[in-house]
């Protein structure tokens, strides 16, 4: 592609983006783009902006089960939602051009996401499995030398197919978790949390230089300020952590507020804890994810509270 000199930087960036996501970019294109990017920091910024926009538009690929009807005026054909995007950006460029470009080439990710109340398992091209919790999303990019998963929203459990030549990296909130063949879950709500259920995962927190190896039953939490906390879980605590995959909520001393939030993620019916002191009380137990009323009743008995139901809202108040 040879940009027209009369175009603005933004327009040239749009042309490059269109070429790079076409699936038809040649080694020459990649080298030319690299040269253009190197020439001016504004070029890099404009291209970055174009890539971010292109990626943001993937947000339109909602799961049809939960998506509202398409706004009027949209294309009429409906296709079956395809979770796997074929081929896309095969990299067949000369090594030099690839290295130069690496930071800027956008390999189009596959997007996997779930709606409210939906927990779903996906199989990746390499045989790895991902189980996504309710209202979660991952963007998966498979490269010849790497398998990259960006956890964009919510929580996922990853069972990684062994492939020593392609490390499997999950990134969330800037932290990275690298596995070769193992199973672990990552969530990004109120900080980033990883739980390792098999094997070893190498963690690099965003502002820590040193990588830390996490083993089976170990968990790490990175709070939003960057603070790191490591812990070992008993087998019992471990099963509670993984309960969401089986349609249960396992509570292990969470506050009633946190517990209510977990249920609210899965259900249309929302639990509201009206009293501050009550919300700070801690609860333990196994509950069916789809039964917020059952949980509320049990919690009320445990904590000596009162349950009121109004339409789609369950209110927990002090007696």
């Amino acid at each position: 592609m040879t940009p027209d000199p009369a175009m603005t930087i933004d327009e040239i960036a749009a042309e490059w983006l269109a070429r790079m996501v076409s699936g038809n970019a040649s080694p020459e294109d990649r080298a030319n783009l690299a040269a253009w990017l190197e020439a001016d920091s504004r070029h890099k910024g404009a291209y970055m902006r174009a890539m971010a926009l292109w990626q943001m538009l993937n947000g339109a690929a909602q799961n049809p089960a939960v998506a509202p009807p398409l706004p009027r005026g949209w294309a009429h054909q409906r296709f079956t939602r395809r979770w796997m995007i074929g081929g896309g950006a095969a990299i067949a460029a000369s090594a030099a051009a690839v290295l130069l470009l690496r930071p800027y080439v956008l390999d189009e990710p596959q997007i996997f996401q779930t709606g409210r109340g939906e927990v779903r398992e996906f199989t990746l091209a390499d045989g790895s499995h991902i189980v996504l919790d309710s209202q979660s999303r991952v963007d998966v990019t498979m490269r010849r030398d790497a398998r990259n998963v960006a956890l964009v929203e919510g929580m996922g459990w990853f069972h990684v197919a062994k492939d020593k030549t392609r490390p499997f990296t999950v990134s969330a909130n800037g932290a990275r978790f690298v596995a070769v063949g193992t199973a672990f879950s990552v969530s990004r709500e109120g900080g980033t949390k990883i739980v390792v259920s098999e094997g070893i995962v190498r963690m690099t927190a965003a502002d820590h230089d040193r990588a830390i190896d996490l083993h089976r039953n170990e968990t790490a939490t990175i709070d939003p300020a960057g603070g790191l906390k490591l812990a070992r879980l008993s087998d019992d605590a471990m099963s509670r952590q993984m309960a969401w995959r089986e349609g249960s909520v396992g509570l292990d001393g969470e506050t009633l507020r946190e517990a209510a939030e977990s249920f609210n993620r899965y259900n249309r019916m929302q639990i509201v804890v009206a009293d501050q002191a009550l919300a700070d009380k801690r609860v333990v137990g196994w509950f069916s994810r789809n039964d917020p009323l059952g949980f509320s009743t049990a919690a009320a008995t445990m904590l000596d509270a009162k349950v009121e139901r109004q339409g789609e809202t369950i209110r927990l108040t002090k007696k």
Partner: protein, 180 residues
């Protein structure tokens, strides 16, 4: 820079770009340099390895722009006092509670749908197939009975329009009055 950073920029900065640009016009009186400054900001933010500590993308956007503008003011040597005064008053903006705003998944979804819907006819169809149905360029060309080359041209044309639309947008995805 990685896919995570790109996704982060899309989710946390792009929705606020219109607002940030309007502020830039108000305090900077730098209309002719506006695109440069915005591009410079994206370049700097994209070069950061670590965005995890940033809880408020919108406030971060303002901070980066403020630094860029201070550098530019210094370079220009002639200090524009009127601009600097307004500049200082900016601190009030990003400490306000509304600065905590982040779009919910649903709001983002609606914003993205509105953007695609705003495109002219065939462009819109191409973006619908590429983005809503996640089809490849080749599949899109087959479904629409046009060449891949035409699809690529429509992607470029649509991206140019959407890049303009983003620049003029409110955070809730509404176009500003008088926007292109």
């Amino acid at each position: 820079m990685d896919d995570g950073v790109i996704a982060w920029i899309g989710a946390n900065l792009l929705p606020f770009e219109g607002e940030v640009r309007r502020w830039l016009r108000r305090v900077g009186k730098l209309r002719d340099q506006e695109d440069d400054i915005i591009q410079d900001a994206y370049c700097r933010i994209g070069a950061a390895q670590d965005l995890s500590h940033i809880r408020n993308g919108r406030a971060y956007f303002y901070t980066v722009l403020r630094n860029i503008m201070i550098e530019r003011f210094r370079r220009e040597k002639i200090v524009k006092f009127e601009s600097l005064a307004e500049f200082e008053s900016l601190h009030v903006i990003d400490e306000s509670p509304s600065a905590e705003r982040v779009l919910s998944g649903q709001q983002q979804y609606e914003m993205v749908c509105r953007l695609i819907e705003s495109l002219p006819d065939r462009c819109r169809e191409v973006f619908t197939m590429r983005k809503v149905h996640q089809l490849s360029q080749r599949e899109t060309a087959e479904r629409l009975g046009i060449s891949e080359n035409v699809v690529e041209k429509d992607v470029a044309r649509g991206m140019k329009l959407l890049m303009q639309a983003i620049a003029e947008m409110d955070a809730d995805g509404q176009q500003q009055e008088g926007a292109a």
